[in-house]
Amino acid sequence: MTASLRLRAGLVSLVLLAAFLGIWHLATRSTGTTATMSPEYAKLMGLTATQGKSAMPGPLDVGAKLWEHLKRPFYDNGPNDKGLGIQLGYSIARVGTGYLLAVLVAIPLGFLIGMSPLLSKALDPFIQVLKPISPLAWMPLALYTIKDSSVSAIFVIFICSIWPMLLNTVFGVASVRKEWINVARTLEVGTVRRAFTVILPAAAPTILTGMRISIGIAWLVIVAAEMLVGGTGIGYFVWNEWNNLSITNVIIAILLIGIVGMLLDQILARFTRMVTFPE
């Protein structure tokens, strides 16, 4: 039954994809020659103006260009023109650094706050104010104070991925079932041991859910941050191609951003499954 359901779902997915590509192709067909112009003038004009080619590329253009990129993902033509593989590498490295720093801060801090009702209450207003700030709003401040654009980008990733992890850790730690803690207390387990053997395993699924939300946000933000800061990364690639009004390349970048985001999410989802336990 499940096998056949999966098969049917896959089939529907394929049909939807085919329909989408078909409509896209039809919608972006060229309209044939437009107004007549002298050949000398036409030579100076783009295809959009001379052959009525749609300004939006069709799926075939995108496919051909994508193949071109995939054939040589790691070329390096100087500081402003690198292969997609290298650009994605830069972005992932930035996200990884900022995210790991956030993990190192958020989880221990969340643990402390979660275990102490006093701290939890005292810090709550700060967290509530800081949490809803759009990470990109930090960018000018970061650039101004840190005075280094790549560190600023990492800082923005750090600041945007810290809150979901922190809140989820606090929540996870605070809502460990009282019975388990009481049992640990009855058995005279020390605080440190209690934290690692009782609270951590119990709170782990919640903590990992927070981490999963964070990585998604971090990946969303890096693209925008790199568009602002420039230099390297997939966000810079989007900006550079936008500069050239090459919508084909922008679409390819969008596709790749989606795929990498999905992979990052899947990795965290796998970790979450590993620590989940039946109650």
Binding site: S38, Y41, T48, N80, D81, S149, G230, N244
Partner: protein, 459 residues
Amino acid sequence: MSTFDNPFDPNRKLRAGCVCGQHGSDAEHEQATALYCEPVASEEKRYEGVVASALMRAMFPQDVARRAFLKSVGASTALAALSQFFPIKTATEVFAQAGAPEKKDLKVGFIPITCATPIIMAAPMGFYAKHGLNVEVVKTAGWAVIRDKTINKEYDAAHMLAPMPIAISLGLGANAIPFTVPAIENINGQGIVLASKHKDKRDPKDWKGLKFAIPFDYSMHNYLLRYYLAEHGLDPDTDVQLRSVPPPEMVANLRADNIDGFLAPDNICQRAIYDGVGFMHLLSKEIWDGHPCCSFAASREFITSAPNSFAALTRAIVDATAFASKAENRKQIAEAIAPANYINAPVTVLEQVLTGTYADGLGGVKTDPKRVDFDPFPWQSFAVWMLTQMKRWGQIKGDVDYKAVAEQVYLATDTKKLMTEMGLTPPASAYKSFAVMGKNFDPAKPEDYLASFKIRKAS
């Protein structure tokens, strides 16, 4: 006598009178022949000329004696005789290298528009390398970012709009940090583009209520567009909408009908035409022929901490600018700067901008070889003009010491010295008057000039 005259020419006139014989003095001649960076056939020849002429003059300080000597033996014999006991070739090499740069690996930021041509082309065409530098040119997302990155010292020097270093030095829109302009990048090379639907609205008087885009508040584009509108009786602050829009988004916005037109740097103008969304209403050259647009800027701190690097960098830029000013080199430059690593635009578009034979978007092909031109000399009168406009539109309030600011930011004296060392002929004065839309500007009387405008922001 000009540094670059042939010292081996026995028929050269005596000091009184100029080289060409048509003017009373050298200074007059220099002012009359207004091309300041006419490059010489080959680099080596130029330096060799400078060295040889210095040598010749050292041996015969009296012009009369030198001429007598040259007449009696002939120029080639004299040169051969000199080279016998003085290694002109080696001296030339030593001279061309000047002081060793303190810092060889430099980062220079640029915005991908044709204004940055000298900065960009100097990398692929080896001008930086020739002056002993290893420069990485880094594409940057926008004017505010390039400003911040240069202030933060991520870039050693950068491509900026000509008014930006003045604005930064005055602390407008940023902390006041002393910035300098050793060289202007390009002159002319901008344009007013209107959406195709405004084909019949060619008279600016009909433009009330239209929306225009400019690249940045502190830009020549802003001042020129405001000037143009005001001369036609429109108040740019109340009769039209002006928006700061990053250049690449201008074309997209024009296509989406969000704006009616823009005064933008080139290749953006030509790109709008190339994509069939707009037409060229007017080249900025027609507002003010020879106006500066972008500059090559560095902080004063960079100059004091690495004077030789700075000098080498300026030399490379001046060199590249001189190369770019020649029409026959333009096609080759267009190909060098088109790839994704640099401007990232179709070669056809860049060629149209640089060679000046372009489609106007209305079905015609126009030719204007001076559509964009390159002249590195940082005229201080340019800075004074920009300051008058900054004050006119309320960007600066209160009194302005025009001359002091211009001289602090636009390094005419230093550039003049460098250009002379390179065997180029810079102009004698750092101030010149010019006409903007037929109205004369006298750099000595900025306040009178400012007072002569009817339309301005009330201060």
